[in-house]
Symmetry: C2
Subunit: 316 residues, 2 copies
């Protein structure tokens, strides 16, 4: 797969044409109304799609129903034969259960856009499962916190068959600021998403270590991070998580500890299976395990900074 | 010192007035013509300063002499009583030797601007040494690679007495794009510089780990890093070092291994003395020790990515 992998195509929402009117009345199955799923669903309604939604916790659908969405009694029931369905659920187990054989059969030659952060192996499994019923599968994990999702500012990573990705474009246009494609191998976009989440948490750990060192030497972390995140580290990850560290604000969680820990375990499995040592990853996992052990699972991923501070005898 | 530390002042070169003509004929002592020292000296000449330079390797001064700089026979000889002298040398030992008692006595009530990356303890020592002769000391380590120095795009971190920093302003205006101040404690700016260099190398290690994981799973590091460094990590450190990793271009070194290793040992001492554990730091030091052991000291700091790749059975 190395050939097509070197031809990353990407386009942003700048200059794109309006969602064509053909999509305006399309029924979309939508499964998963979590912290990202809900604002994505809202934007799809705003973009003219008619949603047929399913969520384990039915109450979360109320606002969408008020805007014209229809609820389904099961994941399978949200699917229209030959149509498009989006899933954005918590983990590999959840998406494999949602998109079971019956679901794939119901979708038939339709399109499944999978936005969950899962392992590349799960995308491969789902892609093959759909193929048995003539269906198409696109992995499309997204980068962005809930605020970014609400503002249609998600970055979307895609992998899967070219024609299927093309069919998914109106959906992406309605929810994100840009799409980066990683080729036809089903799980490639998931590899990228996992790598990105690892880099995000590694950045938090590094900022926290630097901050603890600075504070123990008389320099406030606000001063240190305000300088760095407005100069050589002036990018969204450092700016946003730097602010969280400065303010020690880790609640409410946009990206809660159990979810980031799940992701780091996926990175661990994906790197271990491929024999790629990741020494920083191992210490990140230990940080999150400690947060779970202390009952801090309600905190945001950036909350690992508290462990760094505590190890240095600091209270943030 | 916590009070004044919370009042970080900063200004950028935008909107600043031109270097006043009073500075145009001022004689500046300048010691250290390394990869950063040389372009800084060039810009000072361009800014109207008359340089009196000293460097261990005299040949490096030729270009500056052709532009009107005068060479001195020793560090002390570069100093004008009551004037200003800039030092930018390789390490703590070098600056402590350069600015010995005789040097401080020769400078008298003049100003020493120390731009080397050294420990906060060394700045404190120098500040006290100068004070014994009525002299003033400003720590002013800079962020930026040699290209940035040549382009007057350095970021300058300062600490020291307010009046002394004010007197140093024309110098900073001639060489950088902005100054961030960290208060009156002599070593505060050095703490920030060390923290920044740690974050820089931690970012390289994290990008390399993510890239190795991705490549072992079929996603080229060019694709991964091009995406991340143009979206959520679109800041100079990730963009520039990401490019170096993608191209496996680590020579010629802008920031050679022995220098970054020296810096990481300073971070280690500064954090250890203050009881601030930095687990990522320890593995960075091991990476650089391995590069030294393999005779790769000519490589750039970003070359640690090669060790990450090699550990994963990859050849970059």
């Amino acid at each position: 797969m190395s050939g097509e992998l070197c031809q990353t195509k990407h386009y942003t929402s700048q200059g794109k044409t309006k969602v064509d009117t053909g999509a305006m009345s399309e029924i979309l199955g939508f499964i998963g109304l979590g912290k990202l799923g809900l604002p994505i669903a809202e934007n799809l309604i705003s973009g003219g799609f008619q949603l047929r939604i399913y969520n384990r916790t039915a109450e979360k659908a109320a606002g969408l129903v008020a805007r014209g969405a229809v609820t389904a009694n099961s994941a399978k029931d949200a699917v229209v034969a030959g149509g498009t369905v989006i899933t954005i659920v918590s983990d590999d187990k959840a998406v494999l259960e949602v998109a079971d054989e019956a679901f794939c059969e119901a979708l038939g030659d339709g399109l499944h856009i999978s936005m969950s952060t899962v392992s590349p192996v799960t995308s491969k499994t789902l892609s093959e499962r759909h193929a048995r019923f003539g269906g198409r599968f696109v992995a499309a994990p997204v980068f962005g916190r809930p605020e970014a999702a609400a503002a249609k500012k998600l970055w979307i990573c895609t992998s899967g068959a070219a024609a299927a990705k093309n069919d998914a474009k109106p959906v992406f246009d309605a929810i994100g600021q840009g799409v980066f494609d990683f080729g036809e191998e089903a799980g490639a976009a998931n590899v990228v998403k996992l790598a990105g989440n690892f880099l995000l948490t590694a950045a938090v750990e590094a900022m926290a270590e630097a901050s603890a060192m600075a504070e123990k030497n008389g320099v406030a972390r606000a001063e240190l991070l305000n300088f760095l995140t407005s100069t050589i580290f002036n990018c969204p990850i450092y700016v946003n998580y730097g602010k969280a560290i400065v303010n020690a604000q880790f609640e409410p969680a946009g990206f809660a500890i159990p979810l980031i820990l799940k992701d780091m375990h996926l990175v661990q499995k994906t790197s271990s299976d491929a024999h790629a040592p990741m020494p920083i990853l191992n210490l990140l996992i230990d940080r999150y395990l400690t947060m779970m052990a202390k009952g801090l699972e309600r905190y945001d991923a950036a909350g690992l900074a508290l462990g760094v501070a505590e190890d240095a005898g600091l209270k943030w």
